[in-house]
């Protein structure tokens, strides 16, 4: 990460010097803090709002009720896990992903990983953790709330075809990657 970051910066400075744009570049760079804070207000504010509402939904047990539908899927995906609490949390995580609130479920994923680590009694990565990660990366979404609200800010909504193709893409990605991970990934035993 460090190497990439610094090499990009050095590269762009050298490029700017050679193409005589350095005088325009430096004043723009001084605006970075302002831009970052602007972005943080725009994006982070929305995220905080959704985290708040999602937390309310968890406390009111709405998410648990919805999450029960996914119990068979979780049982099929992670047959080694018997701990009921973990299964419930994974179901809630799937529900968060369905609502397009991947960011709001960060504390939840951390909790799941901690519990899994406690159960496996080692600090090695297990197949269940990999499956959880892959599931979160390929995030199968039905109601992409974050995207909808950003587009709402620009006075445009999500067309029905865009929405349907988004559901198809995320569903296929999740299906293929989870199947491949389930069949091909094996733990390294020491």
């Amino acid at each position: 990460m460090n190497k990439l970051w610094s090499s990009f910066i050095i590269f762009s400075f050298i490029y700017a010097i050679f193409s005589h744009r350095i005088e325009e570049m430096v004043p723009e760079l001084l605006l970075v803090p302002e831009k970052t804070i602007q972005l943080l207000f725009n994006v982070g504010g929305l995220m905080i709002l959704y985290t708040g509402i999602f937390h309310m939904a968890i406390d009111a047990k709405v998410i648990d009720k919805v999450g029960i539908i996914f119990k068979p899927i979780v049982h099929w995906m992670m047959p080694n896990i018997q701990n009921k609490e973990i299964i419930q949390l994974v179901c809630a995580n799937i529900t968060a992903n369905l609502l397009g609130l991947g960011m709001a479920s960060t504390p939840m994923v951390l909790q799941i990983l901690e519990k899994m680590k406690k159960d496996s009694n080692s600090n090695q990565i297990t197949k269940e953790m990999v499956l959880l990660l892959i599931m979160n990366v390929s995030c199968f979404t039905i109601f992409p709330l974050t995207i909808i609200s950003i587009r709402e800010k620009y006075h445009s909504n999500l067309g029905i075809y865009v929405w349907l193709s988004l559901i198809c893409i995320t569903f296929l990605t999740s299906l293929i990657s989870i199947l491949v991970t389930k069949w091909r990934y094996h733990d390294i035993h020491h």
């Binding site: 982070g44 990983l113 091909r184």
Partner: protein
Amino acid sequence: MIYIISGYILITIIVCIFKKVDGYHSFLCGIKEGSQVVVNMFSCLFGFVFVVECLKNCGIMEDMLNLSTHSWIPEIMVQMMVRPLSAGSSMSIMMDIYDKYGVDSFPALFSTFIHASCDTFFYMLTFYFSSVGIIQNKKVIYYGLFTLGISYILITFVMLLFF
């Protein structure tokens, strides 16, 4: 679309009232958690905005724009590279594209798809596992890259076919 958002909020609040849960308190708890995540994100975001601004202003983007036939290709490529690293920077690129080409244009839809259909894999891998204290192995990275590859291929396919 407004109805989905308002329905989600209303259903949550009504269920809270029926179950006699202290909704306000848990809302505040959620806000607290969320703002901690955002504050943690701030440093990452700052570093990223800095690099992106460097690359944008050094002129290489403009030179690439002159070279390629479709002007949005470099931006989409940059977003594809940035998406697994940080959600905030991908979102900033997406908003740039919205401002530049309009919300319903082809590149805007493309970047919406990229933003919506994958998540920050490398960020998760480092942040989640290091904060819980789990040793990672190399194989996980290949599976993550495989997932990202599939979703990028599907997005390109769908975009070229249907829009």
